[in-house]
Symmetry: C2
C-alpha cells in the first residue's frame, strides 16, 4: 500500500461540507468516488478537518491509501478528469505510510472575506460575507492581535463542539483590505467548532462599533455570549495547511 | 410619466441572457417583475443590448417609464429588496423622456477574463475562460491595437447577426494581466453578434501560437474562418456603458 497526499481546492457552495453525510452530498464523497473510478478500489479519503456547508478551500489537505501503481504525481491529472468542476486537485504526492491529514499537520491558516459595500455584489453572494457597515480596520487589526498566543478559546466555540481541551495556540491573526474586500486571516495549531467564524463575527462587530469590549476581555471571560455573531459560512476559506518542510 | 435609468450588476450564470425568452428565465424578466412589484404597474424595461446566456455585467444600463411618484434614487433600494441575489441595482436616476438605453448610448466597454493555469480553478468555473496555454501578452497587446479604428468587422461576427452595417468603431483595445487572470478590454461604439468573444478567442489563439496570422490581415479578409474560436460566455462581462457626461 502507498499513501497518497492531495491538495484540493473547492467551492463549497453546493456541498454539505467535507464530511460524508447520509442524505446530502459532501466533498469527501466526490473525492472518494473519483479515487474509486481511477484506482478501481474502494477508498477512504482522510481530510485535514471538517468544513461546514458552504465553506470553501483554497488548499485543503487529504490523503488515501492505494494498491494501484499509478505514479503519485499522476493522480492529480487522473482525478481532475473525474471530479466535478467545483473541486480540483492542485497537487498529488507520496507521503509517509503513517501520515494522516488530520493528525500529522502542524498548523492551518483560515481566511475570512467580508464585503462592506452598501449594495450586495452578485459575484460575491457565495464567496464573502455581505456586512454593509463601515469598518475601523486599524482597530480590527489591533484587536485581532490580542488572540495571538496560547489561550482557552471556549468563548469562541459553538455549542456542539466536543473536544478534550479548548486551549489552542494562535500564531498570527491579521486584518487587511484586499481590493473591495476586508480580509481576516488566522493561523493556529487547531481551531474549535466555528471558532474562525465567531472570531470573524466578533472582529467585524468591534470594527463596526457594535461591540465596545476589548477582545482580551471577551477572550478571558470564556463567555460565548460576550463574543459577536457566528459569521456566515460563505466568507470562510481554508487557505493553507502546514505539514512539514517538504510540502509546506 | 417619468423615465428612470438603472445601473445593474448581474451574474449571468443562471440566466438565458438579458432578453426575455418564452421558456427560459432572463435577467430582463426578473428586473421587470421587480419593477412591477415596486410600482404596481406592468412594466417594460429597456436594456442597452442583448447579452448571451452565461454572460455577466458589472455595469449594465437599462431604463423604464413609470407613473409612480417614488423618487428616482429610491428605486435602487426598493428594487434590490425584490431582486434575486445574483442581480443588483447599483444606481437609479432620472433620465430625459426620450432617453433609450439601447439607442442613446455613445460607447460600451466589454471585459473578457481568461484563466491560463494548467489546472482549472473551481472559483472561476463560471467567471473566466479556462484556456490552459502560455500566452504571449506583449504579442496579444500589440495585436489587439490593430482593431482600433473604424473597420468592417464582418469577419468577427457570428452567423445569425442581423445588422444594417458591419462597420464599427473601436476606440481602445487592451490586454493585461490582473492577478492570476489575463484580461482583454475593448471599447467601441457598438459590437456585432459575438464580436467580443470572437476577438477574445482570436487574440488568445494568437497569444498561444495557434494562429500565426496578423490581426490586420484577418480583419481585412472579412473571413470568419480565418479568425479564432468564439470564446465561451462565462469569461465575458459588460463593464461600462457611456451615455453622456452626467452619468459617465
Amino acid at each position: 500500500m502507498r499513501n497518497i497526499g492531495l491538495i484540493l481546492r473547492y467551492d463549497g457552495t453546493n456541498y454539505c461540507g467535507w464530511q460524508r453525510q447520509k442524505t446530502e452530498i459532501s466533498i469527501q464523497q466526490k473525492v472518494e468516488e473519483a479515487v474509486e473510478e481511477v484506482t478501481g478500489e474502494s477508498s477512504f479519503v482522510q481530510g485535514c478537518g471538517r468544513t461546514d456547508a458552504g465553506v470553501h478551500a483554497l488548499n485543503y489537505l487529504a490523503n488515501f491509501e492505494t494498491k494501484s501503481n499509478i505514479p503519485a504525481e499522476r493522480f492529480k491529472y487522473a482525478l481532475n478528469t473525474k471530479l466535478p468542476d467545483d473541486i480540483s486537485v492542485l497537487d498529488s504526492f507520496l507521503v509517509e505510510d503513517d501520515f494522516n491529514s488530520r493528525f500529522s499537520i502542524e498548523k492551518k491558516t483560515y481566511r475570512y472575506e467580508i464585503y462592506t459595500n452598501e449594495i450586495a455584489n452578485p459575484f460575491l453572494r457565495n464567496y464573502a460575507w455581505h456586512f454593509p457597515y463601515e469598518l475601523n480596520l486599524e482597530l480590527m487589526q489591533s484587536q485581532a492581535k490580542k488572540i495571538v498566543g496560547t489561550h482557552d478559546f471556549s468563548g469562541f466555540m459553538a455549542v456542539g463542539g466536543q473536544v478534550k481541551t479548548t486551549v489552542r495556540t494562535i500564531y498570527d491573526a491579521v486584518v487587511f483590505k484586499d481590493g473591495e474586500k476586508v480580509v481576516f486571516e488566522v493561523t493556529g495549531n487547531g481551531f474549535l467548532y466555528n471558532m474562525v467564524r465567531i472570531l470573524a463575527g466578533t472582529l467585524c462587530y468591534i470594527g463596526a462599533g457594535k461591540i465596545k469590549e476589548d477582545m482580551k476581555d471577551i477572550l478571558e471571560s470564556l463567555d460565548r455570549s460576550r463574543a459577536g455573531i457566528t459569521a456566515p459560512p460563505e466568507g470562510l476559506y481554508m487557505k493553507k495547511v502546514y505539514f512539514g518542510e517538504k510540502h509546506e
